[in-house]
């Protein structure tokens, strides 16, 4: 199963992902300049939160045990068999927004103007999700969850190499021990 990974160190908070998600997935015009003139205004399925120091692009994590799925009263949310992605069938959504209360990340949104809930479906019918395609810093990446372990291994190796380059005391600093010992 593939999900969108967010490289926190690369996100600049430019919100390009938001603009183009709303345009490509939410508008009829399909170009940004047209989309902004449409009513109701198109909505993005990814939101950039956080602060200037740490901007974070957030979209549905496609949970393996998805609380939104269990919460949905009408069965409008379902898991796509092939991709494993949680999708919303808009025709069945009654806009009760129960799902939005259950999502631990707050990434399924009420859309009052259209009386439906809105969530990222990882652009499952497209080759590459729009946000991944447009992110200027490649902060978003489509990865297979089975590659998580590989990714983490790389991260561990990088950290170990980093520590080796510095001396051991820096390693202790990293864990915030020296200062505490001194205080």
């Amino acid at each position: 199963m593939k999900v969108i990974a967010v490289h926190l160190d690369r996100c600049t908070g430019c919100k390009t992902c938001e603009l183009y998600c709303a345009t490509e997935r939410g508008s009829n015009g399909k170009t940004l300049l047209r989309a902004v003139q449409e009513r109701p205004l198109p909505q993005a399925r990814v939101r950039v939160e956080g602060s200037n120091e740490v901007p974070v692009a957030m979209q549905c994590r496609q949970c393996r045990q998805a609380p939104c799925l269990d919460a949905c009263l009408t069965g409008a949310l379902r898991r796509d068999g092939e991709s494993g992605v949680v999708v919303i069938q808009e025709n069945n959504c009654i806009g009760c927004w129960t799902c939005t209360l259950f999502c631990p990340y707050g990434v399924i949104y009420p859309w009052p103007q259209r009386k439906i809930a809105l969530k990222c479906d990882r652009c499952v019918y497209m080759e590459v999700p729009v946000c991944v395609d447009v992110c200027p810093t490649k902060a978003l990446e489509l990865i297979d969850v089975d590659q998580y372990e590989d990714l983490l291994r790389v991260k561990r190796a990088e950290t170990a190499a980093d520590l080796q380059r510095k001396n051991r005391l820096d390693g202790a600093l990293l864990l915030d021990l020296v200062e505490r010992a001194g205080s």
Binding site: C14, E18, L19, V36, Q37, A44, R47
Partner: protein
Amino acid sequence: METIHLKTVDPISQELLRSASRQGLDLPWERFEKLQPQDGFLRLGLSCPFGCLQGPCRIDPFGRGPAKGVCGLAREEMVAGLLLRLCLQGTMEALEAVPSGDRPRAIRYSRALGAMVSQALAKNDQHDLSLDDIFKSSMLLSRPSSTYWQLLAQALRLSLLTLGFQEQGALATTAPSLPCTAGYATLAGRAIRIGLCGEPSTRLVFELGKEVRRMTTTPAQLVALGSWLELDGRFLPIACTSGESELLVSSGAIHLLVAGAGTDPGLLSLCEKLKIPVVVNGQDGDAEEIVGRARKCFESRSQSDLFGDAPPVPECQVLLSASTIVPASGWDLTGKIGLIGGSDTPQLSLGKLPADLAQALSEKGLQLAGWGDAALWVLKKKSASDETALPFLALANRQGPLAAVTALAGVDKLESLQGICFTGMKSCLELSAALGLAAIGCRVSVATPLPIQGSREVLDALSRLLQQNGGQLRHSDHPADARELTEWFTNP
């Protein structure tokens, strides 16, 4: 590679593109592609343009995020502020072209333009223009405290000022027209070639011209890369349009680049990569030494005649002065006239729109004139096709369509002008001039989207302001094609 025909319509340019790609050279198209999508907030005009360090503030076009800047600035004022900022830049560019000895204390218009400007101001209840408008505009842009109406009205004032400066900055020559040759065929044969780009100083062009004429053993030549530069009563041969400049340099046919004001940095780094010497404006040095450097570069290269087979473009006369355009043009003033011009843009396949549009309008019976890169493309097409030559007049690039507009107004025949189309824009000067022409009552169309799409209210207010004097500035949310622009020209 499969998209090469989408980048330019010129077969020689397409060949050069292939060769540049084999060499792994980074050209404007690749850079444009890598920049996709360009900053959406800026493209919409929703990134604050005021001179303030509390930002950067941006307004969410889709209404879920911020609707105001830190200071409370709203979306309409942000968009109108950007238009004013761009027009201010354009006005300064137009002022820069006015010879410094002539830099005005008050603005002097020709009789025809003066009357049109006065009428435009009167229709919008505006007082006379003065140089203080420049200062006032910068102050308006320092902190946001005006309404979008005020910002738009000021942008229109600046655009009228731009027209005045453009008129005063016209080429200082008494000749009604100057001959000009263009296209890759100007590079046929072996020669040491000095390419001039942007706006190099007149003195340097003159000195280089003198030096080049002295070269007898190996011929040497000055060629302009997309620039319209006068020397000895004619324009320097224009080897390529501005959008093709890097392409031409990548071919190795240029042995030294004179980078005048306004030269793109991409061209400079390309020269550095290809070890082509560059002379930067203001650091000119001695003409003899410059030509010597070009010769050294020439001698170090293999000297194939790359452009020997390029189709020749017939020499044309570029019309310069408003007072002589009407008699020289041979226009039937009871018929319809259309003006097309402007710069190359990577948003559209180079040359396609100007050539297609000129063809379509000519078939509809319009008499045509044009300026800038667009005019070069139409001239190139004239040579490439076997069809009966497309009637088309070239206008001096400095003034663009303004000279033709004032010429028609001077003989009271402005109603024969169906429209003015900018097929592409590169500088703020072009935007400000387009707005100015619309403000004096012309129908103006811009083929590429302007960065003011973020507020419907501002777009509507601008149209209403222009309509009060019968003018129109058509632009849209997508790069336009020849079909829709032909429609626009023929259905006022």
